[in-house]
């Protein structure tokens, strides 16, 4: 249906199937196909079945989802291999969240004037296109898939955390964070209590504004405040270091910038520079030493829904005959694939298969529960050996670790390497 590697996102009104927009992919799907995709979903609904995804004979994958009984989003991927079902489902949810973030839920849930809505939806294209292009995939941003905030662990957070807390308070807010090279380095307690998707979404918004010195964006929070907009103020302290606060009507952007930014952040500018330099090398502090045979990893704190992804630039102390590392982009891709593999097959507790929306899905959910009940155990570890690397997944009550290692690591030793790596990161950093 579509060239491989591409995903197209369609948006229609749920009740009448009027197309509102179509993004992604150079070649648009013909109108008749869009109509059929909508039709087959409606037909299912008429029969009391919820069609949520399928694969076509020609290896395309399609996922549907209706939001607020108002808008239908459909994602169509070129080749099944390139986009997992998890990816498409996340895409639908993320795209909806982008739309709520920009326009608010009221605008989307009560469609009064279709032409007007079409015009307004254009304002979401920047974020949606970034999602479709998977902006930042080469830097290993995975929040769109994991729904955990992409973080980096600064080596000396103390003074910066204090500064952030007082800066945020001075801006009449409790919600503040510091992004370094696009990753969350610090946040106030309240910021961590936003829904994980919101944290990811706000980071994505800030990262899409890379050139600006400061900004004031109205944002609706898809979970926390879908109908009342807050203001997201961002300040580029150094190129690549952005402080953000989420606030109400005051302070004005101008006042916050002229009265607060210099006062709070100038005294710690050296600490910010150190943090930035560290971020250029790694998302982990220098005190964490990884084994040379670690090619990439993703560690997730399951409670706080924070994630740190690591892709070493070069190997540490290596035996001389070891081949060089493959490109970071390639390893990030493998890491995403392994994450998807592990959470959809083994660590499924995080991943309810059904979408709890309308009545038909209750059946699907029950089926899934029955299926899970059939399992007498919950897998806590899994591994996979490929031509490129070896992969090991590890789950503890607090953490998940997804590890890619060099092929030279004996398969029987993977578990030890993984456990060792998990401790090497979590013990010194308290992550």
């Amino acid at each position: 249906m579509l060239p491989s590697e591409t995903v197209q996102l369609l948006c229609l009104t749920a009740s009448s199937g009027v197309p509102l927009f179509s993004r992604g992919s150079c070649k648009q799907l013909p109108f008749s196909v869009i109509g059929s995709l909508n039709g087959v979903h409606m037909f299912g609904a008429g029969q009391g079945a919820l069609l949520s995804s399928c694969e076509t004979e020609r290896d395309s994958r399609v996922a549907w989802r209706v939001f607020q009984d108002s808008l239908m989003l459909i994602a169509v991927s070129g080749t099944a291999g390139a986009s997992s079902e998890l990816h498409l489902r996340r895409l639908l949810e993320n795209a909806w969240n982008c739309m709520v973030l920009v326009l608010g839920q009221d605008e989307l849930a009560n469609v009064r004037n279709v032409e007007r809505l079409k015009r307004e939806l254009r304002s979401c294209y920047r974020l949606i296109d970034r999602l479709l292009e998977r902006g930042g995939k080469d830097q290993g941003f995975m929040g769109d898939l994991t729904h955990c905030a992409d973080c980096l662990l600064p080596s000396q957070p103390g003074i910066l955390q204090e500064t952030l807390d007082s800066f945020t308070r001075a801006a009449d807010s409790e919600f503040g964070c510091l992004l370094v090279r696009g990753r969350l380095a610090l946040a106030t307690d309240k910021w961590w209590r936003l829904a994980p998707q919101e944290v990811v979404l706000l980071s994505a918004l800030v990262n899409s504004l890379s050139g600006t010195t400061s900004c004031d964006y109205p944002v609706f929070l898809p979970q926390g405040s879908p109908t009342v907009a807050h203001r997201l103020l961002c300040f580029q302290l150094l190129p690549g270091v952005v402080a953000c606060v989420l606030c109400g009507p005051s302070p004005s952007l101008q006042r916050a910038e002229s009265e607060l930014v210099g006062r709070f952040w100038s005294p710690v500018v050296e600490a910010l520079r150190v943090c930035l330099e560290q971020a250029e090398r790694s998302t982990l502090p220098p005190s964490v030493r990884l084994r040379w045979d670690v090619e990439a990893l993703l560690i997730i704190n399951r409670e706080s829904r924070r994630a740190v992804a690591v892709c070493p630039h070069a190997r540490g102390h290596t035996p001389s005959e070891v081949p060089p590392l493959s490109s970071p982009a390639h390893r990030w891709e493998l890491l995403r694939a392994f994450y998807t593999f592990a959470v959809t097959r083994y660590f499924t507790s995080e991943e309810p298969v059904a979408l709890p929306t309308s009545p038909p899905s209750a059946t699907a959910e029950r089926l899934h529960e029955e299926f899970s009940l059939g399992f007498t155990h919950l897998p806590v570890q899994c591994y996979l050996v490929t031509d490129d690397c070896k992969c090991y997944g590890l789950q503890t009550p607090q953490h998940q670790l997804f590890l890619l290692t060099d092929l030279s690591v004996p398969t029987f030793a993977l578990r030890t390497v993984a456990t060792h790596t998990l401790n090497a990161i979590s013990t010194p950093t308290g992550f």
Binding site: V102, E120, R122, S123, Y125, R126, D129, L209, G211, T212, T213, S214, C215, D216, Y217, P218, A229, L232, F235, Q236, L237, L238, P239, V241, P249, S252, L253, Q254, E257, V261, G262, W265, S266, V269, L272
Partner: protein
């Protein structure tokens, strides 16, 4: 306030002169424009001391006219080639060195450009006042490919030429590179300039790394702002800010 002719206060085309190189090097990094965070500014060696003067510049115009593109052009960022609506208010900073003709003094102008998407501005009330609050200059944008946007500005001019307020207003025509599709004629521009005594700047096309494309607009902005401050200072006997 009538605009001052180019070169009457500052050395004309100073960016071309070799003695300006040390100053312009401070706003470059690896042959591209350097990006400054809020905690940064160009730092000159003590023998080349230059004061910095700060101004707020509001970029105004219809959606799609090229406000975000102009801000990117002036700051040396990549110019977007598709139109993504700006869904909030954004500021960006331009440092620009100039040399005063009479005293030979060098100044760094620090322009803070305010860009707000037109559609979001209509949906949220606080944005326009925020952009206009204490603005020292307004760039009024129209697009050469959209006659309506030019008419809008012509219609606004009577309201805008209030001599008592302290705001520099310059008119900028965008997308001048798309001359094949131009919708606004040279004679209309000439007539406009004569009637309102306001120069019209033309921008468009790729920006090479040189300063040539942006210098006329930035110099005019700086010169008029400086002139406005001096005139005000001599009226009120307080030094220019």
């Amino acid at each position: 306030m009538p605009t001052v002719p180019p070169g009457s206060i500052f050395v004309t085309d100073w960016h071309r002169s070799p003695e300006s190189r040390e100053y312009f090097n401070k706003i470059l990094y690896k042959k591209k424009r350097r990006k400054f965070g809020l905690l940064e500014a160009p730092v000159m060696p003590p023998n080349l001391k230059a004061d910095t003067v700060r101004y707020k510049v509001f970029i105004s115009g219809k959606s799609g006219v090229g406000k975000t593109a102009l801000a990117a052009r002036l700051t040396g960022l990549e110019i977007p080639n598709v139109h993504y609506e700006t869904t909030g208010m954004e500021t960006s900073v331009v440092f620009w060195p100039v040399k005063l003709r009479e005293s030979g003094r060098v100044l760094f102008f620090h322009f803070q450009l305010w860009d707000c998407g037109e559609n979001v501005m209509c949906r949220f009330d606080h944005m326009l006042p925020s952009c206009e609050e204490q603005a020292d200059a307004i760039l009024l944008l129209f697009s050469f490919t959209d006659h309506g946007s030019f008419e809008d500005i012509s219609n606004q001019m009577p309201r805008l030429t209030d001599p008592s307020d302290r705001v520099v207003r310059l008119v900028v025509g965008t997308k001048f590179d798309l001359f094949m599709h131009t919708d606004v004629t040279e004679s209309e521009i000439t007539a406009f300039q004569e009637v309102w005594g306001v120069p019209v700047f033309r921008v468009g096309g790729d920006v090479s790394s040189g300063m040539g494309e942006i210098a006329p607009l930035l110099n005019a902005l700086a010169e008029n702002l400086w002139h406005q401050d001096c005139a005000h200072a001599s009226n009120s006997l307080s030094p220019p800010s």
